[in-house]
């Protein structure tokens, strides 16, 4: 008798559980009848890279607001964001979730190289175009994925360009390379090494570190013992970047600390880095993807809209510009007649010299933006402002 009661109890609890679960995970609300382009966004809003996703999302949302005021060819745009946390595992999960539950027409992201690489097989299988604007690893476009596009100049483009400039304009001959042990870090530094050595430069040391390293005093000390160093190309996220700059200054290695070396960085660090690093950032030279002082119309339009929404005293960084440009690129394809994932992809292939806030977009055979005017060089001055170097 007890067995039957127990069986009934278990069965009814299980049934209730199933029904409940089904309701919770059940399919989405009724379809909307206006024409909508769903833009999926895999951006990192948690973890060490979260400053990237948060700011990129801001820029993307701003673009969507502007576009939806009038719509494009009768279409409105929707942004569907999933947190991909700048890492391959969360990005894979977020990507699967996004593709399955939202079925977007196009996806922008991911914020980081590792995350992007993880998502690429997913979009290929789902046949949804992916537009990236912030991941620099070569592996994203070199092998040639028909569904992946990238606006950002990749690690090799940046490093080669950088290497040539510092060799010629700064007379740099010796370098020490510091990098985080990730796809982006390694690709950035390997490309720099190749280009620099090819020009005749010498690499004194190449030191990699994990994202969990906190204290850079020992590394800075090691550099201090290597003799005269001209440049220190560094590839790291902001948190560690600040520590590295400070440690190098303390050790008297960089100009900011009384030494001779100049720290360099590709497009990695957000605006605000200089304030956090303080005096140690003086003399830092880096590539930025967006310069708000540029007088080009797309730049000024973007700046004006941003300030209108967030306040006249706020200035967007390249991160907001990335999000903004990605959405504007999608809008451009719709303007040219795209209506769904496949046609968006086809129209992307035909993009001819579109001008964005970060620069021009021209896709080469591997869907990589080959235009170099997205790379702007700036130097941090003693009062922690940027001085444009006009190298490109």
């Amino acid at each position: 008798m007890g067995q039957t009661r127990r069986a009934l109890a278990i069965a009814s609890i299980a049934a209730a559980g199933f029904v409940g679960l089904q309701l919770l995970t059940g399919s989405a609300a009724a379809q909307n009848s206006t024409k909508v382009i769903k833009i999926g966004a895999l951006l990192a809003t948690s973890g060490a890279g979260s400053y990237q996703g948060a700011q990129q999302k801001e820029g993307a949302e701003l673009a969507i607001e502007l576009l939806n005021k009038t719509g494009v060819n009768g279409y409105k745009f929707q942004l569907h964001h999933e947190d991909s946390a700048c890492g391959p595992l969360p990005a894979t999960q977020a990507g699967k979730r996004l593709i399955e539950t939202v079925k977007p027409d196009v996806i922008i992201g991911e914020s980081c190289s590792d995350g992007t690489l993880a998502v690429m097989p997913l979009v290929q299988q789902a046949q949804i175009p992916l537009i990236n604007a912030s991941a620099s690893s070569l592996k994203i476009t070199e092998p040639g994925n028909p569904w992946t596009f990238r606006i950002l100049p990749h690690a090799q483009m940046q490093s080669e360009n950088f290497s040539n400039h510092v060799y010629e304009k700064l007379g740099a001959r010796t370098a020490v390379l510091l990098f985080e042990n990730t796809n982006a870090g390694i690709d950035t530094i390997d490309s720099f090494e190749k280009a620099f050595v090819a020009k005749g430069g010498k690499i004194l040391a190449k030191i990699g570190f994990g994202r969990d390293v906190n204290d850079f005093t020992a590394i800075a000390t090691r550099l201090a013992g290597l003799g005269p160093i001209d440049i220190i190309p560094t590839a790291s996220l902001e948190g560690q970047g600040v520590k590295i700059a400070q440690a190098l200054a303390q050790a008297g290695v960089t100009k900011a600390g009384g030494g001779k070396a100049i720290q360099l960085s590709n497009i990695w660090l957000p605006a605000g880095f200089d304030e956090k690093a303080g005096k140690a950032a003086t003399g830092f030279i880096r590539i930025v993807q967006f310069d708000h002082l540029e007088q080009r119309k797309p730049v000024q339009d973007f700046l004006a809209s941003y300030r209108a929404k967030f306040g006249a005293d706020k200035t967007p960084s390249h991160l907001q510009a990335q999000g903004y440009d990605q959405v504007m690129l999608v809008a451009d394809t719709v303007r040219r007649g795209a209506t769904d994932a496949k046609s968006i992809r086809d129209k992307l292939l035909e993009t001819k010299n579109l001008e964005g806030a970060t620069g021009h977009v021209v896709f080469d055979g591997k869907h990589q933006n080959s235009s170099v005017d997205t790379m702007h060089y700036v130097e941090t001055t003693a009062d922690l402002n940027w001085k444009s170097l006009n190298w490109n």
Binding site: R6, Q22, L24, L89, T92, T101, A118, P121, N183
Partner: protein, 345 residues
């Protein structure tokens, strides 16, 4: 007629016990078959698969911690060993999936045996920290041995197991979410049954004797060393199995998937579900996989809830949720059999 159950079972013993046991087995099989039809979208089917993988991890750890009383804080390292051994063999050396699978499982089991043999004199806290240290070293090796594991660069595009062709039936492709779930769930069920039988056998008795009082057990000829090593070998092999499935399921492999915090999650499943109770571990695994997904809208709060639940259960519910359920059933007057093996209820 001796009581052949160990661990608190909700099933009555004796002949009617056997009958109900068979019924439970059939019920489990039925549930497994039906689940992918209830959850039709790929995302939730994926969660089901992860559930099955977590069940494997939890029952493996429960065997080591719950039954043999060895607090292992680095269980995810063995999962990592299984995942990397099998994946590298497949992607870099072109091994067949199942051959690589066996290698992964054996590799993980071997590592477990090594750790155990090494740490055999250690008790309680020492063992816990030794296991932690082992997990850290394993993680660092995975991260730094880039030429083999690709380290933080990651291994991408890991293939699913090859399709199964049974004459007379259509080809079963494991790239299909549903089939993959059946595959992992079958392994989980089989493993559960094997463990259950081990526990009911004299081996289970030996483990429990060692857990409760090693010195007295030695006087009976049951030597702690040998049995601890057995427990680790078995439990870690199962973790290796889970790791192999995990890698081919997600398709992407990075060392971070096996960081120490993952070990704590598995420990949480065992403790919250109720250690010393194999089905408790299953319960813990299911709850801690599914509930965070349902709470996904709350974002980071789910980890706060994890922490709260773990603390609460450790403080107030030593028998875990299964202990609570058993007590409730007893109070309702439902027959619950022998307490042999479970120290908590």
């Amino acid at each position: 007629m001796s009581d052949t159950t160990s661990g608190t079972s909700v099933l009555p013993s004796g002949r009617s016990g056997d009958y109900v046991r068979w019924l439970s087995l059939l019920a489990c099989v039925a549930v497994i078959i039906v689940l992918p039809f209830v959850f039709r979208d790929a995302y939730w089917r994926g969660i089901l698969t992860i559930c099955a993988i977590n069940i494997l991890l939890a029952i493996g750890l429960d065997f080591i911690f719950g039954y043999a009383g060895q607090l292992s804080l680095g269980h995810s390292a063995f999962s990592g060993i299984g995942a990397y051994v099998s994946t590298v063999l497949v992607t870099s050396f072109g091994f067949n999936f199942w051959v690589a699978f066996v290698c992964g499982v054996l590799g993980a089991g071997l590592a477990g045996v090594l750790l155990s043999a090494f740490a055999v004199r250690l008790k309680g806290h020492y063992l816990a920290i030794a296991s932690l240290g082992f997990a850290v070293i394993t993680y660092q090796i995975l991260v730094n041995w880039i030429s083999v594991t690709q380290g933080p660069l990651g291994i991408y595009g890991i293939p699913s197991p090859p399709s199964l062709s049974i004459p007379g039936l259509p080809e079963i492709s494991f790239a299909n979410q549903q089939m993959y779930f059946y595959l992992v769930a079958s392994f989980a069920l089989l493993t559960y049954i094997v463990l259950r039988n081990l526990i009911s056998s004299p081996i289970g008795d030996a483990l429990i004797a060692v857990r409760e009082d090693e010195v007295s057990a030695a006087s009976l000829g049951i030597y702690g060393t040998k049995w601890k090593v057995v427990a680790f070998g078995v439990g870690c092999s199962i973790a290796g199995m889970a790791g192999c499935f995990y890698a081919s399921f997600i398709g992407t492999l990075v060392p971070d998937a096996f960081f120490i915090t993952e070990s704590f999650m598995i420990l949480a499943m065992v403790v919250i579900g109720g250690r010393g109770n194999l089905w408790g571990a299953v319960l813990g695994a299911v709850l801690l996989t599914v509930v965070p997904e349902l709470l996904r809208g709350i974002g980071d709060f789910r980890l706060i809830i994890y922490g709260l639940a773990l603390t609460f259960v450790a403080l107030f519910l030593p028998g875990g949720l299964s202990g609570v359920i058993i007590q409730a059933m007893r109070r309702m007057g439902l027959a619950v059999s022998g307490v042999k093996g479970d120290a908590h209820v």
